[in-house]
């Protein structure tokens, strides 16, 4: 009895084993805490099983399909014989399974107690799982998110979310994607490469509406060139489906038909009926409200990941998880603001951004306190070799540091590393300009943009 009771008491009890939850647990045991990690489905959560990882596997197959179509231009003769969806899925599932096994092994080897089942918060220090009460001196809520829909728009049959799209065993002839945000444009990109006739419906005035205006313009141009159709600025009204497919109607009466409809209108927090409100935690439209140090204001209860309002990204979840573990340990960790978290959209062409957009910077610092510089990838040797176009846009405070970097182009996602150091370390363009970038790389575009912004463009 005593033993069992001990096993149910932890320094830190984490509810949810996704990116945010497991990062909390890993950092916490490093710091010497005992940790219980409660997970009702699979360790790794959305990102590993239904999000980041499987989508990026699809995007790589899509990239190879694009290559197969245009290798001839590069002297590599290839006949493209089509996509084998079951092989694509075997590859994707193999990647997920490998990472899942690795994560389970890691969690186990670190001595984290994994508690299987659905947990419910009870008071300030207790979570009940399958009738057993577990206590934690500290509790971290990390229950994540689910694919939202719109009021009256029911998921089912030919109306699907990313969850279903990730396990499809066939390639539709045509598809409508509702929502031109990150998840929407990534699926549109994959499907187009797989030969699907794709149309994106976005109610806001443009695709990827959160991005800098220059990025938006470039993405829309690139998607048009790829033959990805889109309708922006008119909201969705309703959908009908029959055995042939779906018919979508917009509020202006315009209709679109396709074999299926992917609903990608955002993700809602998983917080209902989990005892959060009863414990006195403040929810706003389902999201858990915390202070800037991720404390809920109740007892020793913290929240991390997609349930906390802000950008819903796996690495923000990691960061918050690490932060909270260090906060509990009294290490006084540094806050990384949402605006300074790197964001990559892995469609073709890729988008990578960190910091303020030009518009955001002007709102923050004043219209005449912001300078920008755009460098066109047409001037970059490696990008020409890869056959891609795009831009790098750097936003600085006038006579001040770089506050935003926005990039688009094939493979440009990987440039986010240098960009985020520049923005997070508040570097001046001159700091970057005095360093030479390796030739010939896409990375040089960052060097050229900063040289230009420092008033001494090299190739321009």
């Amino acid at each position: 009895m005593a033993d069992q009771a001990t096993a149910q008491e932890f320094d830190i009890l984490v509810l949810g084993g996704g990116s945010g939850g497991y990062a909390t647990a890993l950092r916490a045991v490093q710091l010497g805490f005992t940790v219980g990690l409660i997970e009702k489905a699979k360790l790794g959560g959305t990102c590993l099983h239904n999000g980041c990882i499987p989508t990026k596997a699809l995007l790589h197959s899509a990239e190879l399909a694009d290559h197969a179509r245009d290798s001839g231009k590069y002297g590599v003769n290839v006949t493209f014989d089509g996509i084998d969806m079951s092989a694509v899925n075997a590859y994707k599932d193999g990647i997920v399974a490998g990472k899942y096994k690795g994560l389970q092994g890691l969690i186990k080897s670190k001595g984290i107690t994994v508690i299987e089942g659905e947990g419910k918060l009870q008071g300030n220090n207790t979570i009940v799982v399958n009738g057993t009460a577990y206590t934690g001196k500290n509790i971290v809520l990390a229950t994540g998110s689910y694919s939202r829909s719109l009021p009256g728009l029911e998921i089912g049959g030919k109306v699907i979310t990313s969850d279903e799209a990730l396990v499809m065993d066939y390639i539709p002839k045509s598809a409508i994607v509702l929502g031109g945000g990150v998840i929407g444009v990534e699926f549109a990109s994959v499907w187009k490469s797989f030969g699907v006739d794709v149309t994106i419906i976005e109610g806001l005035p443009s695709l990827v509406p959160n991005e800098d205006a220059s990025i938006v313009k470039n993405l829309e141009r690139a998607f048009k060139k790829r033959g990805i159709k889109f309708s922006t600025g008119i909201f969705f009204q309703g959908v009908e489906q029959d055995e042939n497919g779906v018919k979508v109607t917009l509020v202006d009466g315009k209709t679109f038909e396709a074999e299926l409809l992917l609903v990608a209108v955002g993700r809602g927090p998983v917080t209902a009926n989990l005892g959060y409100e009863e414990a006195g935690i403040t929810l706003d439209r389902g999201f858990v409200i915390t202070n800037e140090r991720l404390h809920t204001g109740v007892g020793n209860i913290y929240a991390v990941g997609d349930i906390v309002p802000g950008v819903q990204l796996a690495h923000r979840g990691y960061q918050q998880g690490i932060f909270v573990a260090e906060e509990i340990a009294g290490l006084n960790p540094t806050i990384v603001e949402d605006v300074n978290i790197p964001k990559v959209t892995f469609c073709e062409p890729e988008i990578a951004t960190v910091g303020y957009t030009e518009k955001g910077a002007k709102e923050k610092f004043g219209d005449d306190q912001v300078e920008t510089q755009e460098y066109n990838l047409a001037g970059n040797g490696k990008s020409s070799i890869l056959g891609t176009g795009g831009i790098v846009k750097v936003v600085r405070q006038k006579d001040g540091p770089v506050v935003g970097i926005h990039m688009i182009g094939s493979r440009m996602g990987e440039q986010i590393g240098e960009a985020q150091l520049i923005v997070n370390w508040e570097a001046y363009p001159e700091d970057v300009a005095q360093l030479v970038h390796a030739h010939p790389t896409q990375n040089e575009t960052l060097g050229e943009a900063h040289l230009a912004l420092a008033g001494k463009p090299l190739h321009g």
Partner: protein, 51 residues
């Protein structure tokens, strides 16, 4: 080691300034670029900031 960001440390080094002697005014005593610049200006102005 005085707290600052890498580019600020690099700037200080390029200017030949020892960060130990600069007082940080940023969050939690972080030495900002302005702190380094002010230190240089003070030194240039003949203020006995540099012993």
């Amino acid at each position: 080691r005085p707290r600052s960001t890498p580019p600020v440390r690099k700037l200080a080094r390029d200017l030949g300034i020892d960060l130990q002697m600069v007082t940080g005014t940023g969050p939690a005593g972080l030495i900002t670029r302005a702190d380094v610049q002010n230190f240089v200006d003070a030194a240039a102005a003949g203020t006995p900031a540099v012993p």
